[in-house]
Amino acid sequence: MSDDLPLTAEDVAEIAAILEHSGFRELDLSTRRFRLRVAKGDGAQDGLTQEWQWAGASGEIAADVAGVQADPAAICSPLPGTFYRSPQPGAPPFVNAGDTVGEETVIGIIETMKLMNPVHAGRSGTIAEIFITDGTLVTKGQALVRLA
């Protein structure tokens, strides 16, 4: 939180312009709150870049890759998000234990970044067990269901 911004976009543009017409390759500015590096590109392309590093700027770790896919019979979540078993609240689930599925069968939906991503079984078989209850946040690679 601050009283005012340290450098505006216009300031950075000016720094870039100064650098562009100088013999220097980069400007590296560090304060207690931030570090700004404005640099010329490496190769023949002489484009400039700006790189900011803020003290304490790091959110909570969002849904780490669990990577626990030891069970080869498991169908795992392809991405982190909220798992839904049915197309709409109150609608019957896509699949239940005992159902036969094919490669293209949709077994559920993962809502990530406001998009509904259908999860396909990926192979044929019979659903033995459903691990995740409706509306649960899952990580990438987390087992959703197991085929018999």
Partner: protein
């Protein structure tokens, strides 16, 4: 005048609003979810107020929580940004009932425009052309409408925006599945599952007009072309709309102003049109009663700070600009850098950004909340930042775009940058004036 502004949003747009508000001497309070408490906008705002847990349905979308946080923070105005509650009439009503100003249009406008069907009716009333289609309350109605319009058709969320809850349906066999997905997305994104049916135009261009109104007079800030889309999500936007006769552009701009005047529009808004790529006939699609993601291209060519205009109008001031004062210069292009993997069918790729080296230099603007070590949470949309280039001509803007994209480095997660490099090098894009089918024909 507004003294203390509550920002009911996150990400790059929250930061964008903080910047202009602070430049105007307005104190800023960011309403942030738990996942965003350490974000860059949270650091830059004067104060931060917690609006709830990470999932949008428990924080950013909960009217009572957001309004309570704004009241507790002693704010006198609320800027909703885009998405979330920005076009929610009940939210605007709650903000006003609590004695604060809502930075957006009148409630009656939100009611009229938030419902895409009502918006169609108002546009027809104002004399604007619209596409064949309409309302469909039940599954049977959807089938009946589909039989009328024929295929391909579009299913669109009544409360929609941003391509959420929208599905193209090519034949009757796909209709039920597409309807389920569209309704589920509409429910998740807007809390309203209702959809409607509209005829799909194959060779169409998406052209929109930025408007400003104070409830009495209205002006436009020119056109934007947003034809390069993937699944109805805009990827590239430019201003003005290229490769179009001046007379066609003027007719669309006039139609937008005509609509704005008809509904006595107050604030910044965008009238979206579908333009036939061959004969430049146009159809009104919707009016977005909020700031748009792609507003910076308009700012680049007009020099008008649209957020500043929003805040001034919300303060009760009359428009300080006249149509004659708006003199667009040059050409601007924006590309959206999203946390999505183009190699894996654009699967969302949330995670931590290890390094973010954004372009800088003459004619380059970057609107982003993502810097080294920044986090892209899985709960919200995938927009990480916008790269905007401005040139004296479109050719210069295109060249700047290619160069800027070459220097852009994001490490830690896959982004849409490689896709934009391919777009910037495509001869059809370089020539200008592509239709919405552009991406399908893009070389791998």
């Amino acid at each position: 005048m507004i003294r203390r502004l509550f920002i009911a949003n996150r990400g790059e747009i929250a930061l964008r609003i903080v910047r202009t508000a602070q430049r105007m001497g307005i104190e800023t309070v960011l309403g942030a979810s738990q996942a965003d408490m350490n974000s860059l906008p949270a650091m830059m705002a004067d104060e931060v107020a917690l609006v709830g847990p990470a999932p949008s349905s428990q924080g950013y979308l909960v009217i009572e929580r957001v309004v309570a946080a704004a009241i507790a923070a002693r704010c006198d105005a609320v800027h909703p940004g885009y998405g979330f509650l920005s076009e929610n009439a009940a939210f605007a009503r709650a903000v006003i009932a609590a004695g604060m100003r809502f930075v957006g249009p009148e409630i009656v406008t939100l009611e009229g425009m938030g419902d895409k069907l009502a918006a169609r009716a108002l546009a027809v009333e104002a004399g604007l052309p619209v596409l064949q289609g309409g309302e469909a309350a039940t599954r049977a109605d959807v089938h009946a409408r589909a039989a009328q319009t024929g295929y391909p058709l579009l299913l669109k969320a009544v409360a929609g925006g941003g391509g959420k809850g929208m599905r193209r349906v090519d034949h009757a066999g796909e209709l039920d599945t597409a309807l389920d997905m569209a309704q589920a997305e509409a429910q998740a994104a807007f809390g309203n599952a209702a959809v409607y049916v509209e005829r799909f135009v194959a060779r169409g261009r998406h052209v929109e007009v930025q408007i400003l109104g104070d409830g009495v007079s209205a002006i436009h800030l020119g056109t934007r072309d947003c034809s390069i889309q993937r699944r109805f999500q805009k990827l590239v936007e430019e201003a003005p709309a290229p490769a179009m006769p001046e007379s066609a552009r003027a007719a669309i701009e006039d139609a937008a102003v005509q609509l704005a005047r008809h509904i006595a529009y107050r604030g910044a808004g965008t009238a979206e049109f579908l333009v036939d790529a061959d004969d430049f006939s146009f159809f009104f699609l919707e009016l977005n009663a909020r700031i748009q993601v792609e507003h910076p291209v308009t700012e680049a060519i007009t020099g008008v700070d649209i957020v500043e205009q929003q805040l001034l109008i919300a303060s009760g001031k009359t428009l300080g600009l006249t149509q004659a004062m708006v003199r667009p210069v040059g050409h601007a292009i924006e590309v959206r850098i999203n946390a999505e993997d183009p190699e894996l069918d654009f699967r969302p790729s949330p995670g931590r950004v290890v390094r973010a080296a954004w372009p800088a230099g003459a004619g380059v603007r970057v609107d982003t909340h993502i810097t080294n070590g920044g986090e892209v949470p899985p709960y919200y949309d995938s927009l990480m930042g916008k790269l905007i280039v401005h040139g004296k001509s479109r050719a210069e803007a295109v060249e700047r775009l290619g160069k800027a994209l070459d220097t852009l480095v994001i490490e830690g997660l896959p982004t849409t940058t490689p896709l934009h490099r391919r777009i910037a090098a495509d001869p059809r894009f370089i020539a200008g004036g592509v239709d919405t089918g552009f991406l399908a024909g893009l070389a791998k």
